[in-house]
């Protein structure tokens, strides 16, 4: 009961109202632009080619019953979650190790810094050649998108821990392992959360390009993920579907970021409670 009132309050708040107005104004301008192809007497070189929101909505409605469309969601989501988890599982320990052990840092960091600026898209051809299956190639590119961000956040977070925390812990008789578990890990947690949130955003940016170039995967032309869905719609000239795919990715990315944020809040309770 309490939750419902809180939700109602949240939905009726000024911020929600502003958000609603913003979206409506955007949609109306878009609709007008793509219908008239002219605003205030000026012809619009670009927006006129974009299908109107009503047309997009129409197509979208038709797609809701289409298994292939939902399969695209599932495929992309699976790749993103898989690549992202791999980036976390490998990136967090690697980052912590680099932060804790200076020798390891000195050895690994230079190579890491050379590889880090290479955009994930530049990895696509190499990834296709190196990995035996298309699915692995895609997952690898997605993994790279999140990996470097996660590692760099973990390293900088763990290295900026106040030295007095270590001194206090040492004075009170902590062992090295105890310091790692009860000081380094929680002190780095906020950076891990930030790194994951940013990394998750990058995975969605990367998934589309990876799917477009790799050609959609094994499940046939209709099941290649949202990125492939967009590319395929473009090839087939279904412009409304392109926009549906774009917005779908936007929604998926937003949902994933929200999930990461609330998960992050669970792992860093001391930052939230004020």
């Amino acid at each position: 009961m309490n939750t419902t009132t809180r939700w109602r309050k949240k939905l009726l708040s000024k911020a929600s109202l502003r958000a609603l107005i913003s979206i409506i104004v955007f949609l109306v301008l878009w609709e007008l632009g793509s219908r008239s192809k002219q605003w205030l007497g000026f012809s619009l070189p670009w927006i006129g080619q974009v299908p109107a929101p009503t047309a997009v909505l129409n197509v979208w409605e038709g797609l809701l019953g289409n298994l292939g469309y939902w399969q695209s969601w599932l495929f992309s989501l699976g790749r993103v979650v898989g690549g992202f988890l791999a980036a976390m599982v490998i990136g967090i320990p690697l980052g912590l190790l680099m932060a804790v052990n200076k020798r390891f840092h000195d050895i690994v960091f230079p190579s890491f810094e050379v590889l880090r600026p290479i955009p994930p898209l530049a990895w696509v051809p190499a990834s296709i050649i190196f990995w035996p299956t298309t699915e692995l190639s895609i997952a690898f590119v997605i993994f790279l998108g999140a990996f470097f961000t996660v590692v760099i956040n973990v390293v900088s977070g763990a290295r900026s821990i106040d030295v007095r925390y270590f001194q206090s812990a040492q004075s009170m008789g902590s062992s090295q392992w105890d310091i790692f578990r009860r000081i380094v890990l929680p002190a780095t947690m906020p950076s891990i959360v930030v790194g994951s949130a940013v990394g998750m955003g990058i995975t969605w940016e990367v998934v589309v390009a990876a799917e477009m170039i790799s050609g959609g995967g094994a499940a046939g032309s209709e099941g290649g993920g949202l990125g492939f869905f967009i590319w395929n719609s473009y090839i087939g000239g279904a412009y409304e579907q392109i926009v549906v795919g774009m917005i779908s990715i936007g929604i998926a990315g937003y949902a994933c970021s929200t999930a990461i944020r609330s998960l992050g809040g669970f792992f860093t309770p001391w930052l939230k409670k004020r």
């Binding site: 007095r164 001194q167 009170m172 008789g173 902590s174 105890d178 009860r182 929680p186 309770p269």
Partner: protein, 307 residues
Amino acid sequence: MNNLHASSMRADSAKPAVSAGEITVNSVSKSYGAAHFTKDVVRDCSFTIESNKLTVMIGPSGCGKSTLIRLLAGFEMPTSGTIALNGKPITGPGRDRLVVFQESALFPWMSTYDNIMYGPRARGEDNQQARDMAKFLLEKVGLTAFRDKYPPQLSGGMQRRAELARAMINNPDVMILDEPFRGLDAMSKELMWEYYAGLFEESRRTNFFVTTDIDEAIYLADRLLIMTNTPARVRATLEIDIPRPRKIADLFNNERANEVKMEALSLLHEEAMKSFSGGSRAATDFIEAYSKRTTTTPRDGKQPVDP
């Protein structure tokens, strides 16, 4: 006599046992930098932190007090000279000498209770005795209601008290406090003085307290060490024999307190002047603060009246 006092505390089962330690600092020097660019921060410094007493060290900011604390705590080693606790040389950090830092070094990701229990748990002593002790200390520092709060949810004064408790549960031989009340507003600061003095009087644990505040120093100290400017060494030692428990008003009414204050201030002023001629930034700050302090208004809130 002090030992007698300490052992009578131990016999009292309601109160936790209190260890006593004495630290001797013997012609210690510490310099930083390499080869020809070394800078002596501490030079040929000797003093004793007597057991069961509250020793306060005062000196202009930047004179090397914090360096001395790092040496006492064992976070760093002296370039030359020796530091010993109860005759045993100090070779590294240990729970027999706990430091309470300038700004709170409570772990922000742990509740007040978990912070206090840190030491016992680190040593694998999360037993009923330790838990009872944590409860006792929480009550002692008035934070029972804030047991499950995180440090950022506590006020500045509460954080300092929690940190005192976190140190005390380890029953150190010596408590080392590095300007622990710095940054608190004047009201909370005076409350913390009374509070902290009360804790000390109850336990008579060896305490070493570093400050730049002369009122704080005189209110708290049994012995007052006045430091020279960098490189730091002890310029003078004053015994402050004002009876305990003291009152804040003693700082202004008590003749002995005023005597000590004048003496300490003139020594500190001399030190500051010396390095002022050397162009030290810290000295300029100090002289500014000093001139403000000598023209301070009386505490009862009335404006000074011209005779």
